[in-house]
Symmetry: C2
Subunit: 316 residues, 2 copies
């Protein structure tokens, strides 16, 4: 492994966080920057809740709940249980330890700290050495138009369990939002940019929609690769496959490659989809088939190791 | 017991809440109104925290922590523990279940509900049938001038463990604050007004300072009695005795009687202070010596029963 590798990883929640853990195991901490979707953030119980950011932070800190991928390992739900007595709302299950993160973040934001500064404080406090950066200090909100009307992301995703049929997705405020300060430098200095195995529509697109980020990636010296979140015609988690079907996009790494058209130099697909390699290569993308299903820690590290080796050997 | 008794009890936290529990055991729910000090309220972690109100509410709901008198029985402290990782603040020990109360209250206040409405919602949700009323819907803040400078009540009481020498106590906003809507009616209809065994300076005085409340009590048809919080020359809990000494007031029921000069028709003192009965009676106050130390539920009920009987027989 070349120590001069500088990797920028773009992610949403659980899937991307797994790859972040793998990369963090291999790269020196200063060589990994993770840009996280914050368009799912919402105000709940007066708190600024950042589900993706916290999933990445807890994962890198080694305190994530291993069963769900989000929330804090061993967390309790005394607050939510009591809140139920008061008539809720209880649809968003904030754990008691998780509450501390949200209370502290909200307090620091009210004190005038930027979102990136708050994120750095929280992640350093938990012992995270890598740079976790929210995509912007400004507010961007994913808005979902569904057959049941418009709703904010968490209402669609958690409250409605992503069952309503999606008509359109917009990122309110994205055009006016500036990339968080560290992002441009990180992209400038990157040797590799990785779009994590996250939902392209709901996790990666909002990051790319922030004013300038897509253009910086297109112009960057570094190669850009994506890890397909679609494996064997299904999403490993969440609504990616359902969204692609609703948008009449082929539910396969081919659909992913097409979605990221103009951005990618290469794509990592799962071994079960290896028959698609030739077609992807013919479309101009360097392609590698690896085990992308990260159930264990060693799965995560192994995917990261092979991804980096492939990028170094085959993308130059 | 005469069912046409209508009692209004003025209280602060733990001591007053014990008497409230005793009275609640005897009186029909609609015949007991508890007016609670809210000048100790403060904003903490962005939440509106009301320590006295919650102590009374949890006590009447039967969910108060029996060891401390405040907080929720069996509560956990996962949030505070995690917040410690982030650098706190942890000096105010909000339990996880207690957090739900504070989150819900803060949210309802932000939605435009009055403080009295919020209090009614929370206490009804916990099954409390008596009327718990904050002294005002408006903000009043106890401010303590000490030898170490000025500080808000909770800073003095919790953070500094009431060790700084007190120079003066003021209730900021009290003159502009209106009594909460139910208070005037309750005082009008009362057959007995009881100043609970709470700190006169820090718990009862702020209620009396709210514009008009003292005058309504003075003019009320009902008799007004106080339960002395000083027993055998000491406060049962908290800084009352230290404050009286600092103010060169006699630390005894005589000092309490003098403090409430002009308000009282009678006073309940502890049996250990019974030698003071004659002096108090000579000063124009009907006086009774009872066991005022409420360790057990039956202590609370017994004090309430004897207090009501005495008021009915000796105060008319």
């Amino acid at each position: 492994m070349n120590d001069s590798n500088r990797v920028v990883l773009l992610v949403g929640g659980v899937g991307g966080a797994k790859l972040a853990v793998g990369l963090a195991d291999i790269l020196p901490p200063e060589c990994l920057t993770i840009i996280v979707n914050t368009a799912d953030d919402f105000e709940h119980l007066g708190l600024h809740v950042s589900p993706d950011l916290d999933t990445v932070m807890y994962s890198l800190a080694g305190v994530a709940n291993p069963d769900t991928g989000w929330g804090v390992a061993g967390d309790t739900f005394q607050m939510i249980d009591m809140l139920d007595s008061y008539g809720g709302p209880t649809w968003f299950k904030l754990g008691d330890r998780d509450l501390a993160t949200n209370l502290k973040r909200t307090q620091m934001l009210r004190e005038g700290k930027t979102f990136a500064e708050v994120t750095q404080h929280l992640s350093e406090a938990l012992g995270v050495q890598q740079q976790i950066v929210p995509m912007s200090n400004d507010s961007v909100q994913t808005w979902i138009d569904t057959a049941q009307g418009g709703m904010a992301f968490q209402e669609y995703f958690v409250r409605e369990r992503w069952q309503p049929e999606v008509k359109a997705i917009t990122f309110r405020g994205a055009e006016q939002a500036e990339p968080a300060p560290l992002i441009i430098d990180a992209l400038d200095q990157a040797t590799l940019i990785v779009l994590g195995p996250s939902n392209p529509y709901l996790s990666i697109d909002p990051i790319l929609a922030v004013s300038g980020i897509r253009e910086y990636i297109e112009q960057a010296k570094a190669s850009c690769v994506a890890v397909s979140p679609i494996v064997g015609g299904k999403a490993l988690k969440g609504p990616a496959a359902a969204l692609m079907a609703a948008m009449r996009v082929e539910v396969s790494p081919l659909g992913i490659a097409r979605h990221y058209d103009g951005l990618l130099d290469g794509i990592i697909i799962d071994t079960v989809d290896r028959s698609l390699c030739a077609q992807l290569e013919a479309g101009g993308l360097r392609t590698v088939a690896l085990n992308t299903i990260m159930n264990t820690r060693s799965d995560k590290v192994e995917l990261a190791r092979q991804l980096l080796r492939w990028a170094e050997e085959d993308l130059k």
